[in-house]
């Protein structure tokens, strides 16, 4: 069920990128798409009724959740933050040059 919601979120983001006409809305759609992936990544490492992966003793066998995806999610979030910041900064500069966020009016390059 929750995996289904994840893929739904991914599709919402993807369709936003393809259909929206506003630069800021495109950035938001990209972020939604990335967040659905982060959630999926965290879900991959999740196990029911398992403990947080803090090792107390080496001899005892305890049911831990997989710690690797959590580390990966942190890295991916940082990368996502960098791209989002750069995108928004670019959108602001584009607004200064063109006076609009509408991609139909920002069409100097073609051919």
């Amino acid at each position: 069920m929750i995996y289904f919601l994840c893929s739904l979120l991914f599709l919402v983001g993807l369709s936003g990128i393809l259909l929206k006409r506003n630069l800021i809305k495109i950035v938001i759609s990209l972020t939604i798409m990335e967040y659905s992936l982060f959630m999926f990544l965290a879900l991959v490492g999740y196990k029911q009724n398992a403990l947080a992966p803090i090792v107390k003793s080496v001899t005892e066998e305890v049911n831990y959740v997989d710690p690797l995806p959590q580390a990966l999610v942190l890295t991916a979030i940082v990368i996502g933050l960098a791209t989002t910041a750069l995108l928004v900064a670019l959108a602001v500069r584009i607004y200064e040059k063109y006076g609009t966020f509408d991609i139909r009016k920002i069409r100097r390059l073609k051919g």
């Binding site: 990128i17 630069l23 990335e34 992936l37 990544l41 791209t83 063109y98 100097r108 051919g111």
Partner: protein
């Protein structure tokens, strides 16, 4: 651990040095403008020396942080250099050196040169990381480092055009990264490991299972977007011309190979394994790239935009060679990759010199520049003949091998297509030569001067490489440069045991 060899400890330097250099430049920029020039060039010279000293060494594996495998299962991040990585490292660092040397004079017109060098070094660090990484997620991280640096470098001029191109590039690039990340997550959930060699071992005979086919397609879309293969090419003709010329040379000459073609080929050949359906699909994509790129280039009157479309077309050749999956085809594809990086960066540097001298890159506004800029004219003639595949220049030899490989594997249609595209490339570049360098000098261009020394030197060096690189096919040079890379791809899954047994 093999204590007798210490060369493996040189591998992380290829990433650490440019990262440290980027940091140093930001620290020292207040002292003098000249210092950033010196640091950036010095670091890349060191990188080139390092790469050539690693040449001819066996497969090297460096375990970051010294995490040893537990029960034969790798747990740390690996940096691996085999023949294919080595070829890419040579391309990246050599072209970076030439472009940086070119930038010393060219970038004087832009403000904030230290920032430019910082981003440039970050891009080199990212690309070196991608080609050496032996870990899927690590590869993604380095890929993003290189990509984010390149997004900002495309927008470096901060004019309306550059910003628009960069935004388009970045939206597509981020979507591509999302697809790649999704593929990585699926691989992780199937195999429970991220080490490339270990993934390959777990997946040994599961190539046809549904999740693996899905990841193959996700990687194709993701790396296809990054490498501008034909259905996903829309950002390239905007982004590459908008960047400053040395960056265009880096993007077209190196970046699309390192984070597009290399990453896809490494994962498909050495880790997941190629199914016949996938390779046929790739052959279709490369044929479409080849023919459509050259057709779209025909209609262009902007010097750099025309070159950008030719990049798509020439990358079609590279992929055609590699995905034929025969020894001769892979040899041709990889050799063409090496050659393309040289002549395409030379052409972009030429276009930069023309913009530097005249301030315009519209073909119709230029003319007769051979009288005023002889060095630029001669070198661009050499590069044009190379890309068109005229003997004795390097492009001819690699195209010849690719066409021979097509015939050898009974793909006669593809061979004919490759010849046709080559002829059309020649026509297109005769147009460039006719409008820019030959013919009468326009009245407005009377006061044009030849470009400064550093720019001339870079162009002459690359032109020299263009004329002599055919010699790499001679026995002796071939075993040193190209054969290890060809073997790395041909032996496919041998990569797994080579890495895991280190």
């Amino acid at each position: 651990m093999n204590s007798s060899s210490v060369t493996q400890y040189l591998l992380p330097l290829l990433v650490v040095l440019p990262l440290g250099g980027a940091f140093l430049i930001q620290l020292s920029k207040k002292i003098s403008g000249l210092i950033s020039d010196i640091i950036a060039n010095f670091i890349v010279v060191v990188l080139v020396v390092l790469v050539f000293s690693l040449l001819n060494s066996p497969v090297l594996v460096y375990k970051v942080g010294g995490w040893m495998p537990v029960k034969g299962i790798p747990i740390g991040i690996y940096l691996v250099s085999d023949g294919l990585s080595m070829l890419l490292l040579i391309i990246i660092n050599t072209i970076a050196l030439v472009s940086l040397f070119f930038s010393i004079s060219y970038m004087k017109r832009f403000t904030n040169k230290p920032l430019y060098y910082t981003l440039f070094l970050l891009m080199i660090a990212g690309m070196n990381g991608v080609v050496m990484s032996g870990d899927l997620f690590n590869m993604y991280v380095f890929l993003e480092v290189a990509a984010i640096a390149s997004y900002s470098l495309v927008a470096f001029g901060t004019e309306a055009d550059e910003l628009e191109a960069s935004f388009k590039y970045q939206v597509m690039g981020t979507a591509a990264s999302a697809f790649i990340l999704l593929g990585i997550i699926i691989i992780y959930s199937v195999t429970g490991t991220l080490n490339l060699a270990d993934i390959g071992r777990v997946l040994k005979d599961k190539v046809t299972e549904a999740p693996i086919i899905l990841t193959g397609i996700l990687f194709l879309v993701g790396f296809g977007l990054k490498g501008a293969m034909m259905p996903f090419h829309a950002w390239l003709p905007d982004a590459h011309p908008s960047a400053p010329a040395p960056i265009s040379a880096m993007l077209s000459g190196v970046l699309i190979k390192a984070i597009g073609i290399y990453a896809l080929v490494r994962i498909m050949f050495n880790v997941i394994g190629v199914t016949p359906i996938f390779s046929n699909m790739m052959l279709c994509i490369s044929a479409i790239s080849m023919i459509a790129g050259v057709f779209l280039a025909f209609a262009q009157w902007d010097f750099k935009r025309l070159l950008a479309y030719h990049s798509i077309s020439q990358m079609g050749y590279v992929m055609l060679g590699i995905w034929l999956m025969t020894p001769l085809g892979i040899l041709g594809g990889l050799f063409h990759m090496l050659n393309h990086s040289v002549f395409k960066s030379l052409l972009f540097l030429n276009s930069g010199a023309v913009v530097y001298g005249t301030g315009s890159r519209q073909l119709k506004r230029l003319g007769g520049l051979n009288q005023k800029m002889p060095v630029t004219g001669c070198t661009s003639f050499v590069a044009s003949m190379s890309i068109a595949g005229v003997p004795p220049f390097n492009g001819f030899w690699s195209k010849l091998i690719i066409i021979m490989a097509c015939i050898q594997s009974h793909h006669f249609f593809l061979a004919g297509l490759a010849v046709l595209v080559s002829i059309m490339t020649l026509v297109s570049f005769l147009k460039v030569q006719r409008y820019v360098f030959f013919g009468g000098l326009k009245q407005a261009l009377k006061d044009v001067k030849e470009v400064p020394f550093t720019m001339c030197f870079s162009m002459i060096l690359l032109a020299f490489l263009c004329t002599t690189m055919g010699a790499l096919l001679l026995p002796g040079a071939k075993e040193l440069f190209i054969d290890p890379a060809v073997n790395a791809l041909l032996n496919g899954k041998e990569y797994i045991s080579l890495v895991l047994n280190k």
